[in-house]
Symmetry: C2
Subunit: 705 residues, 2 copies
């Protein structure tokens, strides 16, 4: 069985390799163009009841003209078929091809192909299919003929007759779980949070129909309060009627005129196909349900892009997205979704406002790219997006104050969290994110062979970190204080800077212990009430080995949502608020999102800090498996990597790991000398052991607790 898996793996990798070199053709475009265009289309669909509400930040457009360039060296003449979105011409070695521009013969020998494509309305894109010449990542793009400046981008859109502008998420029909009828009204329950196009089956008659969508039953029944709704007027309709816009809901309240008859209601569930690679089971059923609901939450928010929530915004928010990336690495490992989202968030140049207008969201964007590289090892993407990293960082650097720090300037939104706390002046948490961004820039500059900038960013980061410690670390109280305004220190302590400093590894052991003691596990520091910031809080705690405490926190907080009836995790949760009041936010009775991506963080916490799998070199070239039961009797799951899934089982006496290629290391604790059925166990400290893993070779360790 093991040999068989290895063989399949090898075969797949060869086939994929071939696919890259001369396999299936795919639509290609200039990097970022399709992503910008598609994210605009998706985000512009937001409504607030009957009002269209596109994002309020700067939107960019695609480039209206792109040249697609390929060097070829043909043993024999080759006929190529060309599909194009836009007006185009074909030139070989700088000379136009006359006649049929969609079926071109390329002569034998070395030649430069240039396809010049103009399209104002949607991204210029081409699909070229020949025997050896096929549009794929081996093509280049540039703003003028014959002068490539970047590699072409693609997303495996492999149907020549479905161009990128025609891209739609797939759908499949799902039935209602419960249908309640009354005079001129049908209330449908789909059983759990979902998203798609409501289908009214065999609708007959004329008149008005209104659909009131609800993530809760109360919302659907609130004709005046439902956040999303659709209204239609039908004339003598016969047959199925499908609402033209995809909406999020668990319930839909259908109100219709007397002249209308509806046989049944279903949903065309709209989804991005993703692989369910990551798994997690444990001895705790509640925790298992939390993991499942978190996975559902993430899946619903993984669409054209990683979105914040399925009901309300379905906008792409950087702070939210950067968390979903991390969750994704422990579930779907869908790299394409990270890349698309990164392009979409960034847009194009010139930069005149922060991503989503939010200062901290620009900073997260850099960090997300470094994370991506660490998990995937995809240096090509980093090189591709690096020019837009530098222009955004130029914008950020130009906004430093006299101290070299960032604070909110006119037009900036300093978000940090929904928590009620001062947000003006120099916030410690912002400077920490800034330092981390500069480190990310340094790493990415090095990857892009921009060594001079790499050194500059590295120095800026080091200088800033020194300033941060000097300004915000309170040596007497042994905590990070919240911030400084107009040169005056605010003695307020918040969890935010403390947990980021801990998580980023900016503290020595004594400082880390103090932060844990004085802030993170202290009841005197205000609690965090968004899953968004609980992500970092719990990650920081787990980072320093507090899994047992984290287990309790997860069961308490996420378990609390489940007990309150959640079928996905929420934008905000305060256990003290009960009943329908839980759904209120932004001054609106149903303003809160009940399926919010940042609610899914247990996926990341359980995968990284319980199964304990994390890359130590980019793309899992090296990795550790360091299982931690966190107080549970046993844990069992899989973590996806670029080389396949790592399976981990652990209980007090046994650890079993099926590793993948790469320099894997298993680290574990044991009260007495452990044994294994393969490899050599090395003692690395008090009760601590290490075992080198061999790709594809499962190993079982017997230990004592």
């Amino acid at each position: 069985m093991r040999m068989y898996s290895l063989f399949i793996g090898l075969l797949l990798s060869l086939v994929c390799g071939l696919a890259g070199a001369q396999g299936t053709a795919t639509w290609i475009w200039s990097p970022g163009d399709f992503e910008i265009w598609l994210s605009n289309r998706m985000q512009a669909q937001r409504v607030e009841r009957d009002v269209a509400w596109p994002p309020f930040w700067r939107l960019y457009n695609h480039q209206p003209q792109v040249n697609f360039i390929r060097q070829v060296d043909l043993a024999a003449p080759e006929d190529i078929d060309i599909a194009v979105e836009g007006i185009h011409n074909v030139a070989i070695d700088g000379r136009f091809v006359h006649g049929d521009q969609r079926h071109v013969r390329v002569p034998a020998g070395k030649h430069t192909l240039n396809l010049q494509v103009y399209n104002a309305a949607s991204p210029p894109a081409v699909f070229v299919q020949g025997r050896t010449i096929r549009s794929d990542a081996s093509w280049s793009v540039g703003p003028r003929p014959g002068a490539p400046t970047a590699h072409a981008a693609h997303w495996n859109l492999a149907a020549p007759d479905t161009p990128p502008s025609g891209y739609r998420l797939p759908t499949r029909e799902i039935p209602a779980v419960a249908v309640t009828r009354a005079e001129g009204a049908i209330l449908v329950d789909f059983g759990r949070e979902t998203t798609g196009f409501v289908k009214l089956k065999n609708l007959a008659g004329s008149g008005k129909i209104a659909l009131y969508y609800g993530e809760s039953k109360e919302e659907a029944l609130s004709v005046e309060g439902a956040e999303t709704l659709d209204r239609f007027t039908l004339a003598d309709h016969r047959g199925d009627f499908v609402a033209p816009t995809s909406r999020a809901m668990r319930y839909v309240n259908i109100r219709f005129d007397g002249g209308i008859h509806i046989d049944d209601v279903a949903l065309l569930y709209e989804y991005l196909p993703v692989a369910h690679r990551g798994t997690f089971k444990s001895s705790d059923d509640e925790l298992n349900r939390i993991w499942d609901v978190a996975q559902r939450t993430l899946e619903l928010n993984t669409r054209e892009f990683f979105i914040d929530g399925v009901k309300r915004d379905h906008w792409v928010w950087s702070g939210d997205a950067v968390q979903t990336y991390l969750m994704n690495y422990y579930t779907f490992f869908d790299s394409d979704s990270v890349k698309r989202t990164t392009w979409a968030l960034r847009g194009a140049d010139p930069v005149d406002m922060h991503i989503n207008t939010i200062l901290d969201y620009s900073l997260y964007w850099f960090i997300g790219i470094r994370d991506y590289y660490q998990y995937t090892g995809d240096a090509d993407f980093v090189k591709s997006v690096y020019p837009r990293m530098t222009t955004l960082m130029d914008f950020v650097l130009a906004r430093r104050n006299a101290n070299g720090m960032l604070e909110g300037l006119p037009g900036d939104w300093v978000f940090v969290d929904w928590a009620d706390m001062p947000k003006d002046g120099e916030l410690a948490v912002i400077q920490l994110l800034f330092a981390r961004s500069l480190e990310a820039m340094a790493d990415c500059a090095a990857l892009a062979h921009d060594d001079a900038k790499a050194a500059t960013y590295r120095q800026l980061a080091a200088d800033l970190k020194a300033k941060i410690m000097a300004a915000f670390w309170d040596p007497r109280r042994q905590v990070f204080i919240h911030g400084r305004k107009d040169g005056r220190i605010d003695p307020l302590v918040t969890r935010h800077p403390n947990m980021f400093a801990l998580m980023f590894g900016y503290l020595d052991d004594a400082q880390a212990a103090a932060v844990r003691r004085n802030v993170l596990t202290s009841d005197t520091v205000p609690k965090i009430t968004t899953p968004y910031m609980r992500f970092y809080e719990l990650a920081a705690l787990a980072e320093s080995g507090q899994q047992r405490y984290v287990t309790g926190q997860i069961k308490d907080y996420w378990g609390g949502m489940l007990r309150a009836g959640a079928t996905c995790f929420w934008e905000q949760y305060d256990p003290k608020v009960e009943g329908v009041a839980r759904y209120a936010m932004y001054g609106k009775p149903f303003g809160m999102s009940l399926c919010h991506a940042w609610g899914a963080s247990p996926l990341y916490l359980l995968g990284k800090y319980y199964l304990g799998v994390k890359p130590t070199q980019p793309g899992y070239a090296a990795y550790v498996v360091e299982p931690d039961l966190g107080g549970l009797a046993w844990i069992d799951g899989k973590v996806p990597t670029p080389h396949g899934d790592i399976a981990v089982y652990a209980d007090a006496k046994t650890i079993r790991v099926t590793p993948v290629a790469g320099q894997g290391v298993l680290r574990f604790t044991s009260a007495s000398a452990p044994r294994s059925d393969g490899g050599t166990i090395r003692r690395i400290g008090e009760r601590r052991y290490e075992l080198a893993l061999e790709g594809g070779k499962a190993v079982t360790v017997a230990r004592t607790k």
Copy 2:
């Protein structure tokens, strides 16, 4: 009559004033957006026979989202009707308007209206019509709600049901002048160069039709050589057939299958409506015909934008356009066309290549804006475009060499002229254009109240001019030499730097006389063979009073084209080339454009240097009228200004001027003491006199030669 005209003028100005404040509504957009989008659409229509050929330079796109913002202060509630291109919402004081978003009631009092509009495919635009609230230049635009960053732009598109993306030039039907029929063929002569949609009247039958367009009969008859053609296949067609694309032609050669019958052929002449304000007549009939044909040439090339030529490119080229602007000030005075063209040439940010890829064309662009301000006094436009002036100048400044000079870098096209001469290294003519551009930047920065930059540009210009004189002025030969490469002077003398230095006023009297003598009127310096550079050559000569010489040159060169059968003026004309060979260019038998905007320069020369009218303060706040007969017995014409047309008649004994508002001055020569029927004549030199003009008050001067 005079009083009556004045009264009408006053009335018109009041009405127009009202129109600006609360008159007719117009579609509005973010400055540059519509112009970029429309110029892309127009330019992408270029074909080379059956090959689409959009421009080969960087094309930009419009912003996909714009907020339209207006502060109002209403005595009573007001209903407004809203038409929009795109998805939109309406907010009053930051709160969404729910319900009908196209008919909104604005409450009494002070409010901020915000219309957020998203449109990926064409520029976001709005049309708002209320009793006092109307979309016009009083609105602002910005990338985010409630934060205006610029004034809205418009072009008096006043029909709410015809949005900007639906804009089309008007057409009117004109008949053929001669129709020659043969079996399956019709050759049509429209009598002169024209442009539009060929209309095949009462076409019946099925089969193939091909249209071969020709600016010459030879081109139309050359099925293999015609630069433009269209092919159609019709099935059982009945009725008129109109070709879907506007083309330029004098002739069209229609070839069709036997199964097709065509009753007659006409043209839907496509044109931009312009006012024929400038006029010129003289005692020389040939010169009068030259003026008329030049006007026709300019008119055909004045379309959505000023284009280079009607047949081949109809692209927007900066060097060509900047000349047409000057011609336009002496004919149509169509300011909107200058503004549209300026936006279209510039595109958006960031800048990564020169306008049209041509180094000199970036420089002309700045100069054209300064010219525009001088003729129109429209400071609002300068302020509006100033941000894009600075970003282009940043690009230019970043490309200076160690000497602070410009030379062609990889990717740059150094055009200057089609003339065969060295174009690498530091060309004197490029540095002169650069200095002039910096002066233009300084002036425009001052208008935009960017005083710091104004001073910087002023200093850069002064420094550069000193360097130019030191490097390129040969004190021994008393000429500008052509250039310097790798620090080595090329002793070659070309007309180009000499004529620009003279025209820009960079020379003292002795140097100017030397340049005239040693270069401009010298047969030993290579002649100029493009009307493009003859524009500057003759302007430089006229600038220093050589009108009599210029008259001969115009009659010789432009008269030569007329004698060769021109109905518009050509891209290039070499009297030594005869017959069909004249039409060849770019290695193609009919590659040359026979209706090229830069061929129309006599319009400018005769208006500015013969009628002698030119603004001395921006917008003709002050101006001179300095008639020069240039060897002719009499001249008679009108020059348009923002305040109306200035009429000038002059012969050896009489000068008659009907001036407009503004500080006008008539300057003239007389052998003996002159007399006038108004004002006071002042002697200003040897045989030279001056008379202050009074707006609207015609004055006649009697003089002797």
